[in-house]
Symmetry: C2
Subunit: 304 residues, 2 copies
């Protein structure tokens, strides 16, 4: 890959100075004018061999995933994502066309959610392809939707079907930016988290943060077609895939029980259980029996 | 490296909620309260085999460099750095002790310059060690110090000796955060850039942005001891090293000619030449002769 040529191509695509971009990418750092409220700040990475397989993934999807992962987190805070920077680590042998396709994928997703990529960093090296995207979001009214805040008696809901993301969704998921905004506008969201580590683990985080426990109803958990496909292949149950696979990038949230029916009528979420005082996670099976659930799934992040 | 153990260690070190950290690293993203002015936003990476040699560099220095590089850029905008996120890509075979030392180095440098690391992302993979640091800075009064703005007749100055950084300074340099603040407080800085790609190349950027040219005086260019050492080894001249090596992480800036003497008396910079209307870069040699300089040096970034 010819770095210089690539840099020229990239620079031409970055936004010029305007009302909100006080200093553009032609300088040492971008300078931005943000709104008055608190600022949400997030970084997330995708690495070859960990978050994607470069031999099979479309380059555009890799770029999409790099941008969509932090978008999902910023959405889960109830914020509006606005500006991004991208650091790219590029294998020396990569073709410029591949790198351009990665960038186009990243860009398209940014644009779709109103985010301006205002700069970044590019380095070619002997290793694999990796991207880190740093994202700024703005709280436009309202408080951040924290993980804590769920209360005993609240219902728990998710925005979509779970499990089996590795079969393809993990590369092409739609970050729930718009859904988060709509849910928050219409309902009293008490706590929210994005599902990246798997329902059990992320529900565990939500319960721990709120000092509460939860009970899930097997019959209500939306299980994806991909989870069923994987279950046929590996003998694990579809439910198990839905509970533990991770990379769903759906939202999990708690709201007052009386708002559950309206949420489902609005098709903004599916109620899957409820919050209770007693710590720990339980599952009510279809047959009415109960079991204790252990948090399990992915764990590879250390904070925002 | 045991990720879970490492994550626990890292989480315990991240700041808790306070006046400015509205939501801390225990959530999907950090939420911050910033001041009123524009916000400076920068990302920069260090990669094994490109920006450091993991076999010889101290892990603390690697962490330092990862934080100090974006600090240098934010300083060059005249901003006060305040919050950072760090994405770490860790070789699977790395020991937890090595990773902890990298983090400690990063942390120490952040603290020294008043920056709170409010979260990040950690992934282990089959490749080398790499870190991306995203940094927020705040303009506390005054406008951003842009690359453009130098005028014919201004003098050009640098904050320290140049060249030979690869012998060690590139891992241990002090980002000129305090100097930038002091220079800006006391002088009418017209343009500023940090020297990462080499004096010639970065001066080229500054001239291009301002639509001007520059003449340097050989006798005034501060040449580092390391540049002389390298020159003895490779037969290139010490001056050539000072002009083109890169990774100096000093500040290059333009100010009105009449302020040059006071700047030097205050020991905040050394005047090395002046800005002129005619485009291009020239050098006045010690013997009074002149030569045309071609911008050369590093080029591996695509914007802020």
């Amino acid at each position: 890959v010819s770095e210089l040529e690539l840099l020229r191509w990239i620079r031409a695509r970055l936004p010029r100075r305007d009302g909100r971009v006080v200093v553009d990418s032609g300088d040492d750092a971008a300078v931005l004018r943000l709104g008055r409220g608190p600022v949400v700040f997030k970084i997330d990475s995708v690495l070859e061999g960990v978050h994607f397989d470069r031999r099979t993934a479309r380059p555009e999807d890799i770029g999409h995933k790099a941008m969509a992962r932090p978008l999902s987190d910023v959405a889960a805070m109830g914020a509006t994502p606005t500006f991004a920077l991208a650091a790219m680590m590029i294998p020396r042998e990569a073709r410029a066309s591949e790198v351009r396709r990665v960038i186009l994928g990243m860009e398209r997703t940014a644009r779709r959610f109103g985010v301006a990529i205002v700069g970044g960093d590019l380095a070619s090296h002997a290793g694999g392809l990796a991207l880190s995207v740093a994202l700024l979001g703005e709280m436009r009214g309202g408080s951040p939707l924290r993980r804590s805040g769920a209360r005993a008696g609240d219902v728990l809901a998710v925005t979509g079907a779970l499990g089996g993301s590795r079969l393809g969704k993990h590369l092409r998921f739609v970050p729930r930016v718009r859904e988060a905004r709509e849910i928050r506008r219409r309902f009293r969201v008490r706590a929210m988290i994005d599902l990246s580590d798997g329902l059990l683990r992320d529900l565990g985080h939500l319960c721990e943060a709120g000092g509460v426990g939860a009970v899930l109803e097997e019959a209500r958990i939306p299980i994806s077609a991909a989870a069923r496909t994987m279950a046929r292949r590996d003998g694990r149950s579809p439910l198990d895939h839905a509970l533990a696979d991770g990379e769903d990038y759906e939202l999990l949230f708690a709201l007052p029980a009386e708002e559950g029916p309206a949420l489902e009528r609005a098709r903004l979420g599916r109620v899957i259980g409820r919050v209770e005082r007693r710590p720990g996670l339980r599952l009510v099976r279809r047959d009415g029996g109960e079991e204790i659930l252990e948090p399990r799934g992915w764990e590879h992040r250390f904070g925002p």
